[in-house]
Symmetry: C2
Subunit: 228 residues, 2 copies
DNA sequence: TGACATTTGTCCGTATGTATA
DNA sequence: CTATACATACGGACAAATGTC
């Protein structure tokens, strides 16, 4: 875990402005001496910095600090994930109950029609930012002791820490939708206007679907940065 | 470049189904013998396979082939980039002219109002798939010999190969919009319905904006996969 | 429960290739 | 042309997680 410390150290210096955007970093050899580590380890740290968009490198030239838009708001951080990092989120649970799967849901979860599912909706307000409405479905047979308190906190923590499930991957589909009457009222938007809907599926090992969420954000915008 | 050959070989076998989803790959040591390469090199190839979503690995366990949704349609490949790979695109140029920057454009490009810009619109039909409408602006002072023939082919190649500029990065913003009358006719969509608009900025070194594109796709859907 | 072999992860030192200035 | 700096590659050693007996 030495390389991760180097990564954190350099990342911190970039975020603090000690290495400003456009700056040339010390060469790999210098870093080796500075941290007293081998070049392999330094390069692993640099590789992670590159992967996360903090720096880029050119052979024969050097390692350069990227401008902030490279690493801000990257890769579609929907709110679900941000909860673990900042506590600047107000959560209101609107609804929580168990329902029976209709045809659509049974197909999504690959369960028989009528199977029990947990269903909840919540609004999350990112302080000084936008609102998010989430509608989530989770199969009952996987999460028997699921309850309302968990929803106010972090559901993903519950899945991984309390239930000891391993989250394998998630798939997000982004779509434009017209705001309906219900949404318009809840999020204070204009009926019929266009907004982004994010469909979010969380999978456990063996492609078991653990969570199906529809997210609507009042902020009609998602940004990506790609480095050549 | 040895590792990239290994990468391509294994990737090919995954795509051909020789390694089906869920399969366990040969261990690293076996690969070393098979390809006659060191473990470092094999690991570099595996690392790239992991990065591109083809496989994942667990310490103490092995290297496993991911299901197709892990590597399909990843990371928002807008059409602009796909042109280099497949020739299955029909391009129709609808408009090509020079215009003068209004307030909005002058701000986007950081130029004074009235500066000359190239402007073109084109429709691209992905064979057996969907349509894309692009509206693009490019500053005149950077691309004096720009012409209609280039637009029919690859503009990004023109920027890099012919003009010898280096593309530093690009930023994409996704937004939901209501389809207006013009769009509805061009792309055979319903007026007022919601669809995705991708705003695409291409930057050269020193944060010079070389290209500003608004893209609208008839396919109202973008997918992402993230692996834990 | 514990011991053990297997497999990936991390790390070191060194050498050579290649793009850049 | 030369020096510099990153990229690729080799081989070896130990750590940590996993699965099995």
């Amino acid at each position: 875990m030495k390389y991760i410390n180097v990564y954190k150290d350099i990342k911190g210096k970039i975020l603090k402005g000690i290495y400003p955007p456009g700056a040339t970093l010390e060469g790999e050899e210098i870093f080796c001496e500075m941290y007293g580590l081998s070049r392999t380890t330094i390069r692993k740290a640099i590789a992670k910095l590159k992967q996360d968009g903090y720096v880029h490198s050119r052979q024969g030239s050097g390692i350069f600090v990227n401008p902030p838009e490279f690493y801000e708001e990257k890769s579609l951080t929907t709110i679900s994930e941000r909860i673990d990092k900042t506590e600047n989120i107000e959560t209101t649970v609107l609804d929580f109950k168990t329902i029976e799967a209709d045809e659509e849901l049974s197909e999504i979860f690959n369960l028989s029609i009528g199977s029990k599912l947990f269903y909840y909706t919540r609004v999350r307000k990112i302080v000084d930012s936008h609102n998010v409405l989430e509608k989530t479905y989770m199969p009952y047979y996987l999460f028997k002791d699921f309850n309302k308190d968990i929803i106010k906190k972090s559901v993903s923590k519950y899945i991984e820490k309390d239930c000891h499930y391993t989250i394998s991957h998630d798939i997000k589909n982004i779509k434009a939708i017209n705001v309906d009457k219900e949404l318009a009222q809840l999020l204070n938007m204009e009926e019929g206007s266009a907004t982004l809907q994010i469909q979010h599926k969380v999978y456990l090992n063996k492609s078991i679907l653990a969570q199906y969420t529809l997210e609507i954000q009042t902020k009609n915008n998602i940004r990506f940065v790609a480095v050549r």
